[in-house]
Symmetry: C2
Subunit: 191 residues, 2 copies
């Protein structure tokens, strides 16, 4: 049996993207533009599905980025949100990103979360979720997003997590459509 232990290597293009001092994005729409750009680059570099995410602090300092790496890493857990949250926890050195609610961090994602990523968010300690494309946009290109309750926004709000939807939705959808038009892999789509 292989020895246990898992190493997630992010692609070189993302490492280059993240080199240097942490960039600051004072405008929230610019933070969304970044994660949409990550989703686009992920498709163009062939390193995964059309999804990007990032964690920012309340001033807009970029803490960590994430891209979908399911096929490239042969690991179904590695959705963009999961990679961004795990990377942020590594950078900050704690599993509770918000440190017991004392600090404010937001997760930006190019699309709304699937059932797994929805479940991951309250465990992570972020206090805000900002999404681009909608669930139905992702389903529209063939992904099966799982059984997320229809009142998922209310649930996150009850857990103290604010939710903003539809930020630059059409720009985010354009990447999904680019992926679909190119015949991108619909891994474990349930079809």
């Amino acid at each position: 049996m292989n020895k246990p232990g898992i190493t997630i290597r992010l692609p070189d293009w993302l490492e280059r993207f993240m080199s240097g001092p942490p960039p600051v994005f004072p405008e929230r729409e610019d933070r969304m533009r970044l994660v949409i750009e990550l989703s686009r680059l992920n498709v163009r570099y062939g390193s995964g599905g059309p999804f990007g995410a990032a964690v920012f602090d309340s001033c807009g300092v970029l803490i960590a980025t994430g891209i979908n790496m399911v096929a490239s890493s042969q690991c179904s857990l590695l959705h963009a949100e999961v990679v961004a949250l795990a990377s942020a926890q590594k950078v900050l050195g704690r599993y509770d990103i918000g440190d017991g609610g004392k600090l404010q961090y937001d997760l930006f994602a190019s699309t709304e979360p699937c059932a797994m990523c929805f479940g991951a968010i309250p465990w992570s300690g972020v206090s805000g979720l900002i999404c681009g494309a909608r669930d139905e946009d992702v389903r529209g290109i063939g992904f099966e997003e799982g059984a997320k309750s229809v009142d998922w926004v209310s649930y996150l709000n009850q857990r103290g997590i604010s939710v903003v939807r539809d930020m630059l939705r059409f720009e985010a959808v354009a990447v999904l459509q680019e992926y679909a038009a190119a015949g991108g892999l619909l891994y474990n789509s349930g079809n």
Copy 2:
């Protein structure tokens, strides 16, 4: 900014546990006994919360194990089921454990899945889920398991994943109670 990339190192006691040729557990209850034992050892060694999981093939060959490593790895994603699924995918070399439904693998877990792990299961390619303790047993010691739809079993069945509940439930609950009695950490419990 730290370079991206995440390494999950499993604890030494688990590495020792997994050394040698893959063991075989022909009886399903023995597979459950293993994951309950993993949950107990995880508490006793202080390496995480009271949760264990493992992936077996249809003959009972142990493919990969998982334990909760949230606090020890400072990563909120590392529930036992996530670790077991990611480890199995590494061992098998594919993100779809069942290889498009051609092969049968089961996830055994010492407790029913939280919302995140529930969402992760259909993406993973396993075709069976077997659980020990119930959701309410986990909530009973203070963990907030998230918003999982009440018909989660039906949903998994619809996705072609069989579900068995309450296997050796009382043995699994005994570990939860041991953890609670010892004042175990309730990370991100929502309290």
